[in-house]
Symmetry: C2
């Protein structure tokens, strides 16, 4: 085991996933993170690495919630191309993931009223469910649609 | 702004706080983290740094939830000196914190039945409440009491 994060093994993500390439902030700190956009849905994923683990060498709950927050909130991005903030996040921890495993997260928009979006989401590892929960997100303002988002696809059609 | 995390300014925490000194894993990755034990209660704190921030240069929700998870779960450590895992965490985001601000987190044990502990917790920045919420933790097994914990103080008395 090495404390040198940059020295950890780099693996290729599953087909279709691309590196999110956050160059700063907490997104960079918890990376590398990957995403796959397909049919207007975004899945985010990462390999659990040494720098993601808790004292039991499993993915830290804080990491799983961070991934959930990003992936579930991104449903608002995909559906509406708006900036958003998290209002409430509820996570039920069902199972753990070990260093070296590939985990993914995504969600479904279940309600949308007065700029409050409710997303039901999951974090999983192959067939194993790690987290299920609900995110409430507040849309702040519209922005230009970005690649992969529904409005981007519509504008380009 | 520098991407070199170790090059960021290091400030002294408020009186009574000591560096948690995690040398590995997610605890190290999201650090530096500090804690203060007083009268059987533990408060955890950190300076919001560049590597903790979201796109708006505020403390990332994932960071706040990570701090909440650690600080609220530590109530079980302090009260019962047991290993624990997180079962459910609910966080309401009330306000943000900017880079450079000092934030703290702590909680109160409100229920304890069948090795399930319920903690009501907060994350705050001076007088400003950032997060309020509830954590449900499952105690896995007893361990030797550590400094600051109630059982440690009792054993030493």
């Amino acid at each position: 085991m090495s404390d040198d994060v940059m020295g950890e093994a780099r693996r290729e993500p599953p087909p279709g996933f691309v590196n999110v390439d956050w160059t700063r902030g907490f997104g960079r700190q918890v990376g590398p993170l990957f995403r796959k956009d397909e049919g207007g849905r975004r899945t985010m994923g990462l390999f659990v690495e040494e720098h993601h683990t808790n004292g039991m060498r499993n993915a830290h709950g804080g990491l799983l919630m961070t991934l959930a927050d990003m992936a579930w909130g991104n449903v608002v991005s995909m559906e509406r191309s708006m900036f958003w903030v998290t209002v409430r996040l509820t996570c039920d921890f069902l199972s753990g993931a070990q260093a070296g495993e590939w985990i993914e997260a995504g969600g479904t928009l279940v309600a949308d009223e007065d700029d409050l979006f409710v997303v039901q989401g999951r974090v999983w590892c192959a067939e194993r469910q790690l987290v299920s929960g609900t995110g409430v997100f507040k849309a702040i303002k519209p922005r230009e649609p970005r690649p992969g988002e529904k409005a981007f696809a519509a504008a380009g059609a």
